[in-house]
Point group: C2
Chain length 596, copies 2
């Protein structure tokens, strides 16, 4: 079992230098928010992550969950860990203050959520789903529903779930068949939902299911879906759980990974129909889902970073401990000193740093948008599929490198490296597959937008290139031309999309994932270059003022090193994916179905 330690210094660096948290706090008069606060909460959350959640990760993988007497039993220790998470107030971090939340910005919540998912992704899925339910109820619930449910969801006393998928409705939500029949002030819900994360457990006194279903007179397709609250236990007039609702888990999936997270098939209405309450207006369910979607998708992207960081820390420790071969004078050689092992570790570290930079910048844009910044809204829309798609795809590679560094031991389950690899595999699938993200990016977010958000982003990269160009620093001088070439290539892709892609939407779809991946590597390279620029500046200040700096020289030179590595190792992928985009993958449909 590997130890997990929160990467505090890097988190703070990104919040400070890229997000500019103090400026953000000042701009929106968030009086309690500061870099100092961020340091304190990262430190405190790091303790719970390291001491409580991380040690349960391996055991939860082995033990899994079980359906016993119609109730899902979570892994041993999870209930107590959850209670500690709640008692320490972590559930309330970003919830609205009027319902007991601390009202801290999303960017801080994101910085902390990274730690939970690194420590124990299967566990952290439970609060992640609750946050989704809070968001939906806060945005669209009636005051009555909010009063009944939000306090306890935000405190963590109850947890929440999202019930979307059905056996015949996966990526295609238009096919949802679950029914809701009006009955007085409530509805009777009937139907089956699959892949419901933490759909049942014994950690809390109630579970609040959010369920997509159709009213009797609803139009077909996505315009006829409504959203309902369906509590596991019905509430008394005082809002306390009483009898069981007609909603239960009827089976658990046997999955490749995240074994400690129960994935339930939920049956609603096996008897009288599950009692549910409409959220907002009828037939608006899908649009309500969309309001939550940016946050939910960014959260899954964040999991890609988290699991990669966890895998990196394990690989690093193994590479320091494991020896193979001897020097001429008989010293054993730690494998961390072999070039290819070092390459893999640098790929992991620089990849994680790039993902952290992107996820926190994108998370801060959600805050800015909440405060009315329309430019930020456009950026959120554009970033979200990249954060979700690119970061989860990259996490496949980085968790695999952890196994590779372990050699034969990586393939043996006992080591634990395989678990992170297995756990990561869901990330490119749930909350919209990479293909769905890519269609969103190329269609809604680029072509329908006349590439305005893309142009804006390319301008920002261009500004960074300009700033880099004035530097005389030798490392920055290695990075600058590489970033500039990547920018030129991405600009060519933009032009191609506006010409060819717009004229032929199927061709745009052929290359959509390559376009998404190109953007991911470009964003990562841009933010890493920006980081290197700041690190050089800060390092200079350190020398000039000869006084203590927030960041150690070791940290600042390391940041320049990982940025340099990113430019050498990952920026060539911008060109690779761009070249595929520019080909239009015109051969995609060159074979008939029968020829495949």
């Amino acid at each position: 079992m590997s130890v997990y330690i929160a990467p505090q210094q890097d988190t703070i660096f990104v919040l400070d230098q890229l997000v500019e948290l103090d400026k953000l706090a000042a701009q929106y008069a968030l009086d309690d928010v500061s870099l100092e606060l961020a340091e304190v909460i990262v430190q405190e959350a790091g303790k719970l992550a390291t001491d409580v959640l991380s040690p349960l990760n391996t055991a939860g993988d082995k033990h899994g969950t079980a359906l016993v007497d119609k109730q899902v039993q979570q892994s041993p220790g999870y209930k107590e860990a959850y209670q500690q998470y709640v008692d320490n107030g972590w559930a309330t971090l970003t919830g609205p203050t009027e319902f007991g939340g601390q009202g801290l910005p999303n960017v801080l919540g994101t910085a902390i959520n990274e730690l939970w998912h690194s420590a124990n992704m299967a566990f952290a899925l439970c609060p992640m789903l609750s946050q989704g339910a809070v968001e939906a109820l806060t945005a669209h619930g009636s005051p009555e529903l909010q009063e009944l449910y939000l306090h306890k969801l935000i405190s963590g006393e109850w947890t929440g779930t999202m019930n979307l998928t059905e056996p015949n409705a996966g990526s295609d939500l238009a096919a949802i068949a679950c029914k809701a029949k009006p009955e007085g002030d409530h509805y009777r819900i009937r139907g089956q939902k699959i892949y419901i994360t933490w759909g049942d457990h014994q950690m809390t006194s109630n579970i609040v299911h959010l369920v997509l279903a159709r009213l009797p007179d609803a139009p077909a397709g996505v315009k006829g879906i409504s959203l309902f609250v369906v509590p596991k236990y019905l509430l008394s007039d005082e809002g306390e759980p009483t009898e069981l609702n007609d909603a239960r888990c009827i089976s658990l999936e046997h999955k490749l990974g995240i074994h400690a997270s129960p994935t339930c098939t939920m049956s609603f209405g096996d008897n009288d129909g599950a009692i549910g309450y409409l959220i907002g207006e009828p037939n608006k369910g899908l649009s309500y889902m969309f309001t939550m979607m940016n946050h939910a998708r960014q959260s899954v992207g964040l999991q890609g970073l988290s699991i990669s960081e966890r895998a990196y820390q394990q690989a690093r420790q193994f590479a320091k401990d494991r020896t193979q071969g001897t020097t001429k004078d008989g010293q054993k050689i730690a494998i961390i000193d072999y070039p290819d092992v070092r390459r893999m570790l640098m790929a992991m570290k620089s990849g994680c740093e790039a993902m952290r930079a992107l996820s926190l910048c994108a998370a801060a844009d959600i805050d800015k948008h909440h405060h009315g910044d329309l430019d930020a809204k456009a950026r959120v829309e554009f970033y979200t599929p990249i954060v979700k798609g690119w970061m989860t795809e990259l996490s496949q590679e980085l968790t695999s490198l952890n196994i590779q560094i372990h050699g034969g031991m990586g393939f043996v389950e006992e080591t634990g490296a395989a678990q992170h690899f297995r756990d990561a595999r869901i990330l490119t699938i749930y909350e919209g597959t990479t293909g769905i993200q890519a269609l969103d990016l190329v269609g809604r977010k680029t072509l329908n937008d006349d590439a305005n958000a893309l142009k804006q982003l390319l301008n920002e990269v261009s500004n960074t290139v300009s700033q880099l160009s004035t530097s005389t620093d030798t490392t920055l001088n290695q990075i600058t031309p590489r970033l500039n070439r990547a920018l030129q290539k991405a600009t060519a892709v933009k032009d191609w999309l506006l010409a060819q892609g717009k004229a032929d939407r199927q061709m745009a779809a052929n290359v959509s994932v390559d376009y998404l991946m190109m953007m991911g590597y470009l964003c990562g390279g841009w933010l890493m270059a920006k980081s290197a620029l700041r690190a050089v500046e800060l390092s200079g200040q350190n020398n000039l003022n000869n006084e203590a700096n927030t960041y150690s020289e070791d940290f600042l030179t390391a940041k320049q090193g990982t940025s340099h590595f990113y430019a050498e190792y990952y920026l060539p992928r911008v060109h690779q994916h761009a070249d595929t985009v520019l080909s239009g993958l015109s051969s995609t449909f060159s074979l008939d179905t029968d020829q495949l």
Copy 2:
């Protein structure tokens, strides 16, 4: 559980058009060998693969193996399947005729082995290891040892194992500590070996362990390792198994994949010492291993193809069956018609075809080398790390795409997609990690060779480009410039290696895996382009002669399509990896160990 069908037409096409099997048979007077024979044996092997081995694959994954009363119990049905494999004569295919083998060339053995590994990789590992033992004994065993062991190993009556790795000797065989003490005509072996594939089972009446160990007076390091035969059961004077030797499996690994293949920790000499017999001369064990290495490594590369082909067939079937969304006139849409799903299937199909082309061409070069062709020897040496490294790395991606196409169902073990992904994960590790292959390729096979083998290969690619350039076919005209640009880039890498890489071996090591991957994608692109060229020619003949062709028009146009797709989708990766090579990854060691 998915059905597996041997990709017969493509195998025959490669044997015919790229390997030129009939020419090879004529040149070396292999009277029995012909394309017709190849068709017959692929067809017959395909039946066993489809009807017997493939159906056991899922069950073996679930059931695994167990150590019961000091004996390893294989999965149910495996003993009977193995017996059928032996009864049908498959074990004898490539064995030398003087010991009961059929003496067929390695390239045919490789074509057939692809099917076994596709059908059931865990099962097929057992005969694969036996083939290694046959090869070692044939090349280096005394006539007495050969007489005693080869007949029954070749018939399949017994199986063989390779015992190299120890807890402290993984990639570093110099650290081997197992001891062998002389005693009359034999030796007493003592020590522990780990990761021994099929180290014990109840499928045959004996198991022949080949064990690396040190004699008492052996020099330190790799020059002091000897190779021994250690039978599970000692033999009577008549060569029949009698009492148990002092060698047994003491534990089984709990692994990520290949669950039906028992991975044993073997203990030799817990009591009196295991009785073993020296193969060849003392202290030559490692060089004997090296003579088997090309074949062994190519066999693992082949597994990369096999598992990818299996995953492809499953993904294709799912994509045809699964519907999501409806057309405007209410027809359900099979997901195979969505561009991104089609892209993934084309990536899998064209990737498999490229791997099949490379693995069979490299396998044929082993035959040519056996018949004294020294140019072929150089090619075998050069191809082997590419076949092993690139094909196994690509199989990680292609088996993962199968899960991706399945969406949420891919993450559920019941579907079986996850098994192929888990099984594949060992391939980049055993028989030398990708890093070890890459060091071999860049060092021994390129820099020490003054890049002669590389230059020869680039010349061959150049010849294909020249041939392509004369064509007026529109698809070929799409492929030609892409292949030519990849060739130019690879040529730049060759020049860089001879200048920079030769001057700075550590820098060459930094970029070794990128160099290997670049070569893999280039070789694949070259052979796919060559295939397209032949397909166009054959297609033309079809039309002109208006008579039945070996290949259907459907097959020939599909080959052009997959070759075109390869050029658009995979050839850009040549540039990506080349750009990283050309950077020298100078930042690899920019961080101290403590900064990582």
